[in-house]
Symmetry: C2
Subunit: 82 residues, 2 copies
């Protein structure tokens, strides 16, 4: 059994409206030392697999087919045996 942690962020240069809105709201609340906010999405995926290499390859495939939009997203995959 493996747990894959897929962290999905926006590529450099792609506007992050959620991060921008959060930054504005934090300033309005008085947190004026905050300089930047970026948002990310994470999926924790538990898989019934024995081979880490094979499992990772499947996760990469999931990212390309469903989890990310390659035009705007970059992502990282961390595998952990559980």
């Amino acid at each position: 059994m493996f747990e894959a942690k897929v962290t999905i962020g926006l590529k450099k240069g792609i506007t992050d409206p959620e991060g921008a809105t959060t930054l504005k709201s934090l300033h309005l609340l008085g947190f004026d030392t905050v300089k930047e906010v970026r948002s990310q999405k994470t999926f924790l995926i538990k898989m019934d697999e024995n081979d880490e290499k094979k499992a990772r390859k499947k996760v990469e495939e999931m990212c390309q087919k469903l989890l990310t939009n390659p035009v705007i997203h970059s992502y990282t995959v961390d595998m952990k045996r559980v």
Copy 2:
């Protein structure tokens, strides 16, 4: 300057519709070894602060005031000097 990484997930027992839908879609795509999908949200917050303890306290306050809903969310904060 510190970067806080705030990872927000759902508390145990709270339904994760995004995770459930993703799991279903992965099964439909043929990834039948996937057993569970959980979704999380991350904010990367850059702050112009010198004292880590103070900075962390502010981030905790941000979480309580804006970033999380204490009824359904649990969160972790990691501080990194940048």
